[in-house]
Point group: C2
Chain length 214, copies 2
């Protein structure tokens, strides 16, 4: 566990943040999402900066992405495919293989109760059936006073958190890409005030970190 940065000493409530890749026209997944293409048409290109770019800025961003995260919250569709999937929901263990990249507890918002699923590398999926606020409370508790809570996505959960005033920081990776449709970030979130904390740019994405007024 990393030590708390000076500004966090004495702060007993974890920061809730989210980071998400968005096309310049505002989508975090393309149109026509299917089980084969969960990010929709051309949506995979949203993450090229993460998997393909060797630009310094992108490498640096990737390296520090999980440094401060003590627990995650994610939506049901980010955890697994839709219910009419060939794989029974009760057997699905996430999209990420046996050693998922979270290495921390992950609280999955769902309507179907299920026992926690422990994976390799420190990731455990917990299933929360009573909504975002409940999941955030569990995640805050798990993260403790020195690490942050991260809302991993998808768009609808991030939007719900923004609408509820539950987000402290939003890191948007603005990708030079037009998707023309799909899942829209900021849909129905109202107009919370934003403040730029940091901007890091590469040809693959413009990474802007915003503080969100609560």
């Amino acid at each position: 566990m990393s030590p708390a940065p000076p500004s966090r000493l004495g702060c007993m409530s974890p920061i809730v943040r989210s980071q998400i890749s968005m096309s310049l026209d505002g989508f975090v997944a393309g149109p026509d999402q299917t089980q084969e293409e969960p990010l929709g048409r051309n949506g995979e290109a949203l993450h090229d900066w993460m998997f393909q770019s060797e630009h310094d800025a992108d490498v640096r961003l990737r390296e520090r992405m999980q440094d401060r995260t003590g627990a995650y919250v994610m939506g049901r569709n980010m955890f697994g495919p839709a219910r009419d999937s060939a794989v029974a929901a009760s057997e699905w263990r996430g999209w990420w293989g046996e050693d998922p990249p979270f290495h921390a507890p992950v609280y999955v918002l769902t309507h179907e109760p299920r026992e926690p699923v422990q994976m390799e590398g420190g990731t455990t999926f917990h299933f929360v059936t009573d909504g975002l606020e409940a999941a955030l409370a569990l995640a805050r508790e798990a993260a403790g006073p020195h690490l942050d809570v991260q809302i991993a996505g998808g768009a609808s959960v991030v939007n719900q958190a923004l609408r509820a005033g539950a987000l402290d920081e939003l890191h948007v990776h603005i990708v030079p890409l037009l998707l023309g449709g799909g899942a829209r970030l900021f849909d129905g979130v109202g107009t919370p005030a934003l403040e730029v904390v940091e901007t890091i740019a590469s040809p693959a994405a413009t990474h802007v970190r915003y503080r969100v007024a609560r």
Copy 2:
């Protein structure tokens, strides 16, 4: 007239570019546009970086904004208020006073023919009734081989140019602001490929210049 930069020597067709301030949720004007608030609710805040910021990046951007522009194209609503205005359309001389900031010919897309209006400082408003392509042809001719054509706005004209594949370069000033509604950039423009040319950031706006595939 500035000399052509080396890369432009021998290039006989002006670059068509546009620059526009956009909220992080994708709007270039807020909701409820009226004659008193032509930029809609809170839309004026889109231009704070231009009129209020003293940050180096924003000052630099402002200074070079018009350097290379030989002619402008703009939509009817950017030139003047709607037709039910108290001011007769035939007397309206633009929103910018007697010495508008263009200092070049401006081709206004309209359905009402009108004689050109010559202003102080080199700006002349010409009224074009046969569409964007015709206006662009006139603007290209006026700009000559060494200066660019700029599509000044609003959103619908920029979107029309993107849809028609008529834009070479799009400079988006991404403002840390959620408007929650209004005139949306990239509405119905399809999915032309973009390439980041340059990013300049300040707390007031993230200025990203994109090359547009034609």
